[in-house]
Amino acid sequence: MTTATTPDVWIYVEHLRGAVAPHTYELLGKGRELAAALGGRLIAVLPGHGSRPLAGTLGAADAVVLVEDERLASFSAEAHGAVLAALAAGGMPHLLLCGATSAGIDLAAHLAGALGAPMVVNARALAVDGGTVIATSQLCGGKLLCELEVAPGTIVTALAGAFPADAGMSTREPQVETAEAPEALRQIRTAVTRLLEPSAGDVDITRAGVLVAVGRGIQRKENLPLAEELATLLGGAVCASRPVIDQGWLPLSRQVGKSGLAVKPGLYLALGISGASEHVEGMKDAALIVAVNSDPQAPIFEVAHYGVVGDLFEVVPPLIEALKGRRAQAA
């Protein structure tokens, strides 16, 4: 275990291709509130290379600790973790907040293992109660919530969209402190060789006004034409949750969510999708969300505007018929 903890709150600043990840501002906003309640400072930790301009966008923090080295240009848990471990050796903060993102989950877990620090994952609420930080974490794809006490010196990952980003945006110039790149970077065995752009899909689901989204509930590739027929009648396209893509039934360009695309159609019709946070992240801003799910407790009903509890194979055919009937009348 590292040395005694301070009352400070640290935010790991995630950045990709020269821009701070939007989620970081959500953490900064929440971090402000927590640091005030704990009587500590809010510190944004920024490992990078040529990243000084990014520090200017982190004015919500009391200070930005900038660590520059060419081996820190791209993210790896090993390299960025070495920076945080070296800083933590001078005193672990009360709380280190990372995003529950591709980079954040790698970094947080690696660092927790390396430092012997406690960890709490997937927080969607954080508050201070009589000096104790209380986290509410999401489990089991959103079917359960767990309220737990966060010990001083804990590394916490927070879900994207859990806190408003506005509170973390500031035009103030933050105080920037530079820290030496740690010796440990010499031994780094991980390297990023290149970034691969997604291959352009046959349809751009981010431009579709209507999306019919299918999840594991669609059961078989042979059932996809049902969703396609519905999408055609609605003048839209078919997209999907991760398991459907993993089965190879639709290309990656049709995936909505954390590691897929974020979409904002006029209508998002979710068929057999449970509503895991990783999926919801990509579709929660749709103007109208309708969900069909056989499980009345499916978390998708928490984000939907309209819901039908039922078997999609019983609900979609009459929907198709009704739309066809309407079209025939108009003709």
Partner: protein, 256 residues
């Protein structure tokens, strides 16, 4: 090349989850466990490397839930060895304690590549691959969708970022990789084949090493989210629900 694949059993979400009387844990009496989905992908990823390069694949799991069935399935799919670690200090240790147990076992056996699912649905106090990397002082990379053996002693992985973007990374072995998806869907193995393997093979066993680590966070309350009441539910027969939906879409101007 020695590959270790770590398999974790998680609650089956197909069944209704019940909270225990104390309100801090799941009621386990009727709880069924299944293999964590991303671990199934980690196993598939290992088997792809075995098929391609003749790697040695050992599946390891902590002894709880229906783990025998899961380990025999791993053997039936092509893993050369399956190791059950136990007895456990408590039936379903948290991820933190699980990581320490796996780390103790793996430190003595030193595989070249450790594969595990990037996260499990009941992760609360950590994610296994990252924790293991930190505990064993090995590089760790998570959220991958492909792992390939590159030049001698390194692997190349694709790590996923938002928007379908991926980082191609290389890492010198030994290393821990947290798999999100295998490059192909997990293979299917007929039940008859699993039954055959259950008769012809045995599971190796490894004792639980003594572990230390930070105490698990104190759980105040485990609960189901109260319905937000946001969704207006369309009731009645499927025909009625469909008709109501069409008129909603008409009123909203979605239908032209």
């Amino acid at each position: 090349m020695k590959i270790a694949v770590l398999l974790t059993m998680v609650p089956d979400l197909v069944d209704e989850l019940e909270i225990d009387a104390a309100g801090t844990a799941l009621e386990t009496q009727w709880l069924r466990y299944v293999l964590s989905e991303s671990d199934d992908h980690a196993l598939e990823q290992a088997l792809v490397l075995k098929d391609r390069y003749g790697a040695d694949v050992t599946a390891l799991a902590l002894d709880h839930g229906d783990v025998d069935q899961t380990l025999f399935t791993a053997l039936a799919k092509g893993a050369q060895e399956a190791v059950k670690i136990g007895p456990l200090p408590r039936p379903d240790p948290g991820r933190r304690e699980a990581a320490a147990i796996f780390a103790g076992v793996l430190a003595a056996w030193s595989p070249d590549l450790i594969l595990a699912g990037v996260q499990a649905i009941n992760d609360c106090d950590g994610h296994l691959p990252g924790l293991l990397g930190g505990l064993l002082t090995l590089p760790s990379i998570g959220v991958t969708r492909s792992v390939d053996i590159a030049a001698s002693g390194t692997v190349t992985v694709l790590k996923e970022y938002p928007g379908g973007l991926a980082a191609e990374m290389t890492v010198a072995l030994p290393a821990v990789i947290g798999v999100l998806s295998a490059p192909q869907p997990p293979r299917y193995v007929p039940v008859a084949r699993i039954r055959e393997v259950t008769k012809s093979r045995t599971l190796a066993s490894a004792p639980t090493p003594a572990v230390s680590g930070p105490p698990a966070p104190t759980i105040r309350r485990l609960f189901k989210p109260e319905p937000s009441g946001r969704a207006k539910m369309l009731t009645g027969t499927p025909d009625q629900a469909a008709a109501e939906l069409v008129s909603i879409l008409e009123n909203r101007g979605v239908l032209r």
